[in-house]
């Protein structure tokens, strides 16, 4: 469904992506792992068009990706939630549906937001709060509700459990997996949290040094035989990946 061919991106002298080839098929949950600074976020931003790759191509259903068309059927959960501070929760969740010619009325938008908030385990009264009044875990859930508000066929998750306690991280992982399966959506998640990988992934790809180091089914990550992946999966300080990057 989404295919990346030879993507390269450098910021000045810092080559972040050095020829990444990657693909995700329809309905698949791909998790991209890698240490900090290995280019995971840049990879996502290249697909979204927020960062322009220096070389390579991005295909959607075999054709060059049309960003405007792609984003119409797309949702994303950002690392920090990226909720709009000035808007109440209901407007954050139904933001897309409040734009354009066929925009929802305020009562319709609130109804949709309440339905999506309930899906991520939040009470209806949360809809009337502002993001600043929510805890970190609640903000992530509201971000998740916003990502699924239009029932998109593609969802990206950027570090979905960063900054959360293990229990809340488990709740978010479970929600993501349930929602992706239930909606039949294609998803790409970037994370360095192995509990997220095991809970969310169908397939795992590891980025290291700007290149795809390993990819395979989630069940294979413990017996991959790749020293880089092995060190990452087990969180060892010693190994081929340098501790100080």
């Amino acid at each position: 469904m989404i295919e990346l061919r030879g993507i390269t991106k450098a910021f000045g002298n810092n080559a972040v992506l050095r020829g990444v080839d990657l693909s995700v098929t329809k309905g698949e949950s791909l998790v991209v792992i890698g240490g900090s600074g290995t280019g995971k976020s840049v990879l996502l931003k290249c697909i979204l068009g927020i960062v322009q790759p220096d070389a390579g191509e991005i295909l959607l259903h075999g054709k060059p990706l049309d960003r405007d068309v792609f984003l119409q059927d797309f949702g994303m959960l950002f690392q920090g939630g990226a909720l709009f501070d000035s808007l109440p929760v209901w407007h954050n969740v139904a933001f897309r549906q409040r734009q354009g010619k066929n925009r929802l009325t305020k009562p319709q938008a609130i109804e949709l937001a309440v339905e999506k908030l309930r899906r991520v385990g939040l009470k209806p009264e949360t809809a009337y709060l502002h993001p600043a009044e929510l805890s970190g875990g609640m903000q992530k859930r509201v971000g998740l509700a916003r990502a699924i508000a239009s029932d998109p066929s593609v969802i990206f998750f950027d570090e979905p459990t960063t900054g959360l306690d293990p229990i809340m991280a488990g709740v978010i992982n479970k929600l993501i997996r349930e929602i992706v399966v239930e909606m039949g959506a294609t998803s790409i998640t970037i994370t360095h949290d192995m509990s997220s990988v095991r809970a969310i992934a169908d397939r795992v790809a590891m980025l290291h040094d700007g290149k795809l180091r390993w990819q395979g089914d989630v069940g294979e990550i413990d017996q991959s035989g790749d020293p880089y992946l092995d060190q990452f999966v087990h969180g060892r300080a010693d190994g081929p990946i340098e501790g100080v990057r």
Binding site: L48, Q72, G75, D85, R96
Partner: protein, 264 residues
């Protein structure tokens, strides 16, 4: 050999600074052209525009009103003291009116709005940038320039002339209060002198200046907000840059506009 290296490094640093300056000007011009292009192309966000109109126009009224009120009063005192040297105390009403409407009203309102609104725009957009809210807008099929920049530019450009018009009236009233109650001018004569000497062109030129200053404040606030990076420090820097650059551009464009509107 060392002297040659020093000279080389001196010229290299001048070259780097020049290139950086030209790059900044280029980025600003592209940003302005992009923003102006989006003003005429749908989709439009009327609710955002009205909200900004309220924030930029209505909520700036107290600060602009107080500034012009005290300035009008001080101007009356200064002109009275200066005019007394030439036995020309009677020019106080007309000079206060002309000075306020042509020059002080628009410039002072512009500088106050640059401090109040320019800083707020830069801080808000800068925070949105560093917390990925602007990226989130993009992923929600909403163009950040259309949604964030266009309503602010339109609101500031349209609100400033109204703000300045009200500020002018308050400023002239400040002069009147000082003139009548402190300098013992006759009330009717003061008003008559003010009205008689003031021409339509004086008022319209001030309002044209106000619209240009409003545009500058909004553009510099939005541009610096979009350029901000590196967390809280970057947002702070963007806010400072927005206020300083808008203030300098207001003063420079004020001179150019005065040349353009009054050179005969």
């Amino acid at each position: 050999m060392q002297a040659i290296l020093l000279i080389n490094s001196f010229f290299a640093s001048i070259g780097r600074s020049t290139l950086a300056l030209l790059a900044s000007i280029g980025r600003l011009v592209i940003f302005m052209a992009d923003s102006l292009g989006h003003i005429v192309r749908p989709p439009f966000y009327p609710a955002e525009f009205l909200q900004q109109l309220l924030r930029i126009g209505y909520f700036s009224l107290p600060v602009v009103g107080l500034t012009t009120l005290f300035t009008g009063g001080a101007l009356a005192l200064q002109i009275y003291a200066g005019g007394a040297r030439f036995n020309a105390e009677s020019v106080v009403p007309s000079i206060v009116a002309i000075g306020m409407v042509r020059e002080l009203g628009p410039v002072l309102a512009g500088l106050m709005v640059a401090g109040r609104v320019g800083a707020s725009i830069a801080a808000e957009i800068g925070t949105m940038k560093v917390t990925e809210q602007i990226d989130a807008l993009t992923t929600l099929s909403t163009h950040p320039v259309k949604y964030l920049v266009v309503p602010r530019i339109l609101a500031a450009t349209l609100a400033m002339p109204v703000l300045v018009l009200i500020g002018n009236i308050i400023g002239v009233m400040g002069g009147y209060l000082v003139g009548v109650y402190r300098l013992d001018f006759n009330s009717a004569a003061y008003i008559s002198n003010t009205v008689d000497f003031l021409e339509t062109a004086d008022v319209t030129s001030g309002l044209i200046k106000a619209a240009v200053f409003g545009f500058i404040v909004a553009v510099m606030g939005c541009y610096n907000g979009f350029q901000s990076e590196r967390g809280a420090q970057g947002v702070g820097q963007a806010t400072t840059n927005a206020v300083v650059s808008a203030s300098i551009l207001i003063l420079a464009s004020n001179y150019l506009l005065t040349e353009l509107l009054f050179s005969a």
